[in-house]
Symmetry: C2
Subunit: 407 residues, 2 copies
């Protein structure tokens, strides 16, 4: 099988780790697989480069920052290729200019447009393991670009797609995707398989295993993803299309995110454009709004609530207060000690009662639900931060997530 | 004037130094000059990368080592371009793949073949300072190459030649080329001007200011070089063609090199191929031989002496002893506590008495001369290491080098 493997920063964080990764890749190649590898920068080296740039300039030029950061991945590709050759496995490092990996879009947040893979195909056919620098690309004008944090996952998927790989394996410091964070719920169980959709909801809600864009990319091209530990062997979690022959579990997992803050405007006249009057200024200030809830009108007035990242709370509150000034009777309140949890599962589509069980469980625990928002395969609720852990544990148990599904 | 400036590792060794260099470049640009900059890797970062590679593999793959080392210069170009932009000077970093700087020859010791400079010319015409990574190139197959230690000087000269610059300035931690090392002879005087030929002899003899290849390259293309301090202002030393209208000083400077070891084979039969019988095995072992002296034959036998780097002494001595085994009566002796000094000056061509004064001076000091070798503009002698300092001081005084030439 042709396999694209991606190793994250922790997996190549030291010379010892690089040797361990080389041994793993060499073993896979020896089994007869064709392997292409994508690597991130070693450990915290990207952070150290950013620090260096900030020492030079508080707002470093974005073109030059990209050129600087891209060197981190170049270092790890060269070292891994050396280590592979040392253990008898033919290898060759590539940076984004060499392939090239063509990108469009702004520096720091470029998007991969096209990957020239003729050289890679030649290498693979000749038994050579290409080791490609993740996270970086080349703009049409020849500039080095970077594709955003976590972008190495996306590089790996892009490579897997153009190479028509059998699987794109993301090797990281956890051994798969879990029903919820095992640090919070010891009974949390590794999911052998999740659908792209579920993974998108889980990743978007704070399960930091995989970069969201890489999952979208893989889903769009139907490329199978597998999350594996680079530290210990195991089957990991396969992320792929839903299997229509298998009944999806009602609930697959529970994601959560602590860094939330909620803002509520009460008694706003119900008129066209009122939501925009509040949310417009917030997004113009480049503040991302997450949940948005507007209740049913009463006496021609509604309550509008939304959540933002805790770091943006003060600014968003100011902007909202300013906007509320135009509406007599409207009042603004906020709370930055809230957390979001989301129950995710493809089976929700065909199973009723998921929401009922959620409210029943949280009610029995005496946990107040502040906001609710739903999608086809997800129910998100906002709770007080102090209640988060209790809520996740109770729900994990209520949905029986500690047990493998019976099918 | 169009000026190419090269800043060495010490000159860009810290963020503070990078800001200082940016200020200097920006000031030059503000004076109306067009400036292109070549930079080395920061401080000891190349050494640190080599160390990292050696941790991965005792003999790291040369292709990958080049890819690794080239990142050092990429880091400093990006940081310097950031610093320039921060102080209001338009700038743009380039690595060797981006221009490209095309090279041929083996990894680690590639030679610059061609520099594509259309982009650089556009930048310069548009008031943008291009900041180019030194020391690196691109092979025909797209591999990253490096052009050997000190190669950034050569990059700068190559750029200056293709851009038809008025001058190529090498900014370093000394303020010019001296009559001899000022740490040894406090009266040593900065030379305002030396010829390419003199500089080649001075650099080749251990005056570590400029990389030999860059001087050859500049000489071949008649590109004026200027050695300047990046730490303090000053006129530096101009290295250029000899001015036929000015009488060259008889002696310009005294170079020396402590790391020498001498090997002598006595009583070798004078027959064809005998020098090769000794020197062949030594150079096959990749040991560089410096001075070679064969005396006039006596009774059909000669003495053969040569010098090698002190690190290679034991190995060279073994090889020579082995070779001497075939010649009955031949004896091998060695001394690794010797040093070489060389008196250099274009004016020697037309002035007699330089050698006489050398032997007279050393004789008066009671210093024994072990080997002598001469070229058109240089006399090299080997002395005991303990005598070196006294010899250099005495000769510096004897040739009146502390005084500027009278013309």
């Amino acid at each position: 099988m042709l396999i694209v493997q991606k190793y994250g920063g922790t997996s190549v964080g030291s010379v010892a780790r690089i040797h361990a990764v080389a041994a793993q890749v060499a073993a896979l190649a020896k089994q007869g697989h064709q392997v292409a590898v994508v690597v991130s920068a070693m450990g915290d080296s990207t952070d150290r480069l950013i620090e260096l740039a900030r020492e030079v300039s508080a707002e470093p030029d974005v073109r030059e920052l990209d050129a600087l950061l891209a060197t981190g991945e170049m270092v790890s590709t060269a070292l891994l290729a050396m280590a592979l050759k040392k253990c008898g496995c033919a290898a060759r490092s590539y940076n984004a200019l060499q392939l090239p990996i063509e990108t469009t879009g702004p520096a720091g947040r470029a998007r991969i447009d096209r990957v020239e893979c003729e050289g890679l195909k030649r290498d693979l056919a000749g038994g050579i393991v290409p080791v490609v620098a993740g996270f970086q690309g080349r703009a049409a004008n020849g500039d080095i670009t970077t594709i955003g944090r976590g972008g190495s996952d996306t590089t790996a998927v892009a490579l897997a797609v153009v190479l028509k790989a059998g699987e794109c394996q993301i090797l990281t410091d956890v051994d798969g995707v879990y029903t919820t964070d095992p640090r919070m719920v010891p009974e949390a169980r590794r999911l052998p398989r999740v659908s792209f959709e579920e993974m998108l909801e889980l990743a978007g809600q704070g399960s930091r295993v995989l970069h969201l864009r890489s999952v979208e990319f893989a889903a769009r091209h139907g490329m199978k993803l597998r999350v594996l530990s680079s530290f210990e062997p195991g089957p990991g979690t396969l992320i792929c299309e839903e299997d229509p022959n298998v009944e999806a579990p009602t609930v697959s997992g529970i994601a959560f995110n602590r860094d939330e803050a909620a803002i509520t405007v009460t008694q706003v006249p119900q008129e066209a454009g009122v939501a925009h009057a509040f949310l417009g200024p917030v997004s113009e200030a480049a503040i991302e709004v997450d949940m948005i809830v507007v209740n049913a009108p009463r006496d021609g007035r509604v309550d509008l609530s939304f959540t933002v990242h805790r770091d943006d709370y003060t600014k968003a509150l100011d902007l909202t207060r300013h906007a509320a000034g135009r509406y007599a009777g409207a009042a603004v309140a906020g709370d930055d000690r809230v957390a979001k949890l989301a129950v995710v599962g493809s089976g929700m589509r065909s199973h009723a009662g998921v929401a009922a069980k959620l409210f029943e469980t949280l009610g029995a625990e005496g946990i107040n639900v502040r906001l609710v928002s739903t999608s086809e395969i997800k129910i998100s609720v906002l709770v007080a931060e102090k209640d988060l852990e209790r809520a996740v544990r109770a729900l994990h148990k209520a949905y029986g997530l500690e047990r493998p599904p019976s099918h």
